[in-house]
């Protein structure tokens, strides 16, 4: 890894754009900058300018008016760039799923690299999200990036016998689809 690649991971400047969120996520992003979380530790600065930024944080669902703004901001950022969708609305539309002016998450307009769940996510989760995005950038630079799996994460709980210690989401095997027949694991 060359010095430029290393520096890229050490100095991600963020651009925050509020699509149509409720302010909750925006305030939490601002809280990340403040002494308690202090993301400047990782060299992260909040730049209000797309031409200076590397990471785009999108909060809130995209609506008919700001989809062009979001697209413009994305196009104005010089490569390499990363997009992080913050919160339930930024990822899928969240609680505004049945509002007439919400198209959905940010991924309807721009390619999203990392989704941060939560409504709003805690600053810790946002830091996790940025770290994860940098991890992806690192793998992309090294050529070791593997496309993430997209199937559902299934956790099976046994019934009818003694309940086995339930495996949590971490090492569960993905199943093909939600509607497939349950695997009949008879011993």
């Amino acid at each position: 890894m060359g010095i430029v690649e290393k520096s890229r991971l050490k100095s991600p400047w963020i651009l925050h754009y509020d699509c149509s969120s409720c302010n909750g996520c925006d305030i939490e992003i601002l809280a990340c900058l403040t002494p308690y979380y202090d993301i400047e530790r990782f060299g992260i600065l909040s730049k209000g300018n797309p031409k200076h930024s590397d990471v785009l944080l999108v909060t809130g669902g995209v609506n008919h008016r700001n989809k062009t703004v979001l697209k413009n901001l994305y196009d104005q950022m010089p490569a390499p760039k990363v997009v992080i969708a913050i919160g339930a609305c930024g990822s899928t539309g969240g609680i505004f799923h049945n509002c007439y002016n919400i198209l959905g998450g940010a991924d309807k307009i721009v390619p999203v690299d990392v989704y941060v769940p939560g409504c709003p996510p805690r600053p810790e989760a946002i830091i996790d999200g940025v770290v994860k995005a940098l991890d992806k950038l690192k793998h992309l630079q090294n050529g070791t990036w593997k496309e993430p799996e997209t199937g559902p994460i299934v956790v099976e709980t046994a019934v009818g016998a003694k309940p086995a210690p339930a495996a949590k989401y971490a090492n569960a095997a993905p199943a093909p689809t939600l509607n497939s027949q349950p695997t009949n694991k008879e011993a």
């Binding site: 339930a88 990822s91 992806k136 997209t150 956790v155 099976e156 009818g160």
Partner: protein
């Protein structure tokens, strides 16, 4: 100006307020609503109350296949499902869901281990 001078010099010689997050993790508060979890899936009767009460409609219940699915990216951690559940299957955990690269649903399924009654014939 003098007020701020006192504060900045105080800070200079005080311990930092920063929680060094990824290295030092703080335990979530008691009763914090970080994420929802089908914790006691063995008790689930697939009554659909959680899905019905969920404000963002993030839960889907598949009664035929004995599966509950949660879209963690749509969940708003309100805790209504945990309150609505008659069998206390759902618990709110203090820990939040991890950020992810792709949208994946969390599925919790009941599997019959010592097959006296296969699920199809029930």
């Amino acid at each position: 100006m003098p007020g701020m001078l006192k504060i900045i010099f105080g800070n200079l010689f005080k311990k930092r307020a920063t929680r060094l997050y990824p290295f030092e993790k703080r335990a979530p508060f008691e009763n914090a609503r970080g994420s929802m979890d089908f914790a006691h899936m063995e008790n689930c009767i697939f009554c659909n109350l959680c899905a019905k009460n969920c404000p963002p409609k993030a839960i889907t219940v598949d009664r035929a296949n004995k599966r509950n699915a949660l879209d963690p990216l749509r969940c708003i951690q309100c805790g209504v499902c945990a309150e609505a559940c008659p069998k206390k299957v759902i618990e709110m955990r203090g820990q939040y869901n991890e950020p992810c690269y792709a949208k994946r649903t969390h599925v919790a399924a009941q599997v019959v281990k010592c097959a006296q009654t296969p699920p199809e014939q029930k």
